[in-house]
């Protein structure tokens, strides 16, 4: 009896044979060993949720946007997700991927996470069409948007993040290389995390309480049972004009944001985490201008909350453009339902936000971030 079950485990299902079965166990084992002082800096790959979403932000990220060559064939998508799972289960634990030709670069995971999401195009096959979440549609047109097609929606996104740029580059290579005839890389968005953005502002202050992640971030499977434990990602590329920002004095900068540059405290407070008091006035004038970023972004209802993971980008300006910089923010927002939670806030910012004078959204995309894998990413979608 024991013998039969062992043979079945080893050779039975595609899932077990296709995935590094040992890797699953290592991922689980990490959770046990994480409390030891010399624990390796690894994040679990297997579990209820994908790592890299509510995980404390790593210092480097590369969002890879890919299109499927054969979007109508859902079995190809399933295979791609299996292969990514095979490599991710190893790489996140500091071990080489299956077809890894540079295994020496895998030994320093540095809190590596590899999180995968599906765009609307991933549901093009008849087998999957009815499984697309209702909110997985293009965002409304916002008046402030100057969207460039090269930064637009893709069928797939892979968010690779860690604290070590070499590990990041090696991992990105192994995400792309094994599936290069099945996918087309549309864009990569490389960013870095620092407590501040390139305008010097403290960024990512307002976040939902971690005790409400189950309610505000993670999908409950009510609309699409396969999505339980997943979430949504709104990925916006926001160009920041360093030249015009330079012309604004320090006081004007603080009024546009509604926070001090010193420590990010609201203009009505003294600490970053102080609640802003929008009713406070000085000489009859609101201390925090009604047009300031935080006044416009502040939630009007309890549902208007989402998880912010802002990464800065600073890439060389196009040769010959004469531009002094190509800088901005890769704004990643995670929430259970972007239509209910994210869009109303973004609409207010589009209607009016003092910061709009110096910032321009140039890329926008929405993804269904998969639930955490037990055997492989997307297993519930194909069940």
């Amino acid at each position: 009896m024991t013998r039969v079950s062992r043979r079945t485990l080893l050779t039975g299902g595609i899932g077990l044979a296709g995935i590094g079965v040992g890797a699953a166990a290592v991922g689980v084992g990490h959770e046990v060993s994480a409390s030891t002082t010399d624990a390796p800096s690894t994040l679990p790959f297997f579990g209820e949720h994908q790592s890299g979403i509510t995980t404390p932000m790593q210092s480097h990220v590369n969002f890879i946007g890919l299109d499927l060559v054969d979007p109508a064939d859902h079995r190809v998508l399933q295979s791609i997700l299996r292969m990514w799972s095979q490599d991710a289960a190893n790489l996140t634990q500091g071990r080489p991927g299956f077809s890894d030709t540079e295994p020496e670069l895998a030994g320093d995971p540095s809190r590596l996470s590899i999180a995968v999401g599906l765009g609307p195009g991933a549901f093009a096959s008849p087998a999957l069409a009815s499984r697309r979440p209702g909110w997985l549609t293009p965002l409304p047109d916002f008046a402030i948007d100057r969207l460039r097609p090269e930064w637009g929606q893709t069928d797939l996104v892979v968010a690779v993040a860690c604290d070590e740029p070499m590990t990041l580059a090696h991992t990105v290579r192994l995400v792309i290389a094994p599936v290069r005839t099945r996918t087309r890389v549309r864009w990569m968005q490389q960013g870095f995390h620092h407590g501040r953005n390139l305008f010097g502002q403290v960024d990512g202050t307002v976040q939902p309480d971690a005790r409400r992640y189950d309610d505000l971030v993670w999908n409950d499977g009510r609309e699409q049972p396969w999505m339980a434990g997943g979430t949504s990602l709104v990925l916006r590329r926001i160009a920041m004009n360093m030249d015009t920002w330079e012309s604004l004095d320090r006081h004007g900068r603080e009024l546009s944001m509604g926070r001090t540059l010193d420590n990010g405290a609201p203009l009505t407070g003294s600490h970053e985490t102080d609640d802003p008091v929008f009713t406070a006035t000085s000489g009859g004038i609101p201390v925090i201008p009604e047009s300031s970023h935080i006044a416009r972004a502040h939630r009007r209802t309890d549902r208007e909350q989402f998880l912010r993971r802002p990464y800065s980008y600073d890439v060389p300006p196009s040769p010959g453009s004469g531009d002094t910089s190509d800088s901005g923010l890769i704004f990643a927002a995670y929430q259970r339902d972007p239509v209910v939670q994210y869009v109303p806030v973004q609409q207010r910012l589009s209607d009016h936000d003092a910061l709009n004078e110096w910032t321009t959204p140039i890329g926008s995309a929405v993804y269904a971030m998969l639930p955490g894998p037990r055997e492989y990413l997307g297993e519930t979608l194909f069940a």
């Binding site: 024991t2 013998r3 050779t11 077809s99």
Partner: protein, 180 residues
């Protein structure tokens, strides 16, 4: 070039540990007797993959497959032959260097997985060579590879094909190794 090493206890995955535990349970009724398991039951094959083959020649194409093979028994286990659902024949190959060039050839006497150790079948080392492949194998396609051991037992795994440019060393079919 194939890497063989002793499995360190720390390197044992929990899955392998569970397999060992179940093997222990199975053999518990015959404590202290020799390990009577078949070769296949002593072997764990993991991380299987096959190199995608997009263009198949009229007379059939060739590609290669790789895996990590672990042996938790106290004796060496030998892979003596292999087969696949997508190939007329599968040879056990090694890559050797002679005269400044590397050449693939059949492994004399099969692939040895040392006692309490493992063999890594990887590009540039020992691997399965799939010959007479009549249909393209695209990235994402699943193929089965069956390894046959010295005692006649077999182990079958399913391998997903990956786009991969390596393992292109010259093949030297005129060299015929000893077939076990």
């Amino acid at each position: 070039m194939a890497r063989r090493h002793q499995v360190r206890s720390a390197g044992l995955t929990a899955f392998a540990a569970a397999a060992l535990a179940s093997a222990t349970l199975f053999t518990a009724c015959s404590t202290d007797s020799p390990d009577t398991r078949s070769d296949a039951d002593a072997i764990t094959v993991s991380q299987p993959w096959v190199k995608a083959l997009d263009d198949v020649a009229a007379d059939g194409g060739m590609t290669s497959a790789f895996a990590v093979v672990e042996n938790d028994s106290d004796r060496d286990v030998r892979i003596v032959s292999a087969s696949s659902d997508v190939a007329k024949t599968v040879e056990l190959h090694e890559v050797v260097e002679s005269g400044g060039t590397t050449t693939m050839r059949e492994v004399d006497g099969g692939i040895v997985v040392p006692a309490k150790g493992s063999a890594t079948l990887d590009p540039g080392g020992e691997h399965f060579m799939l010959m007479g492949v009549t249909k393209s194998i695209r990235s994402g396609d699943t193929v089965t590879i069956t390894a046959r051991f010295d005692d006649g037992s077999t182990e079958t795994v399913e391998a997903i094909a990956r786009d991969f440019n390596g393992n292109q060393e010259n093949y030297s079919p005129e060299h015929t190794g000893e077939r076990s």
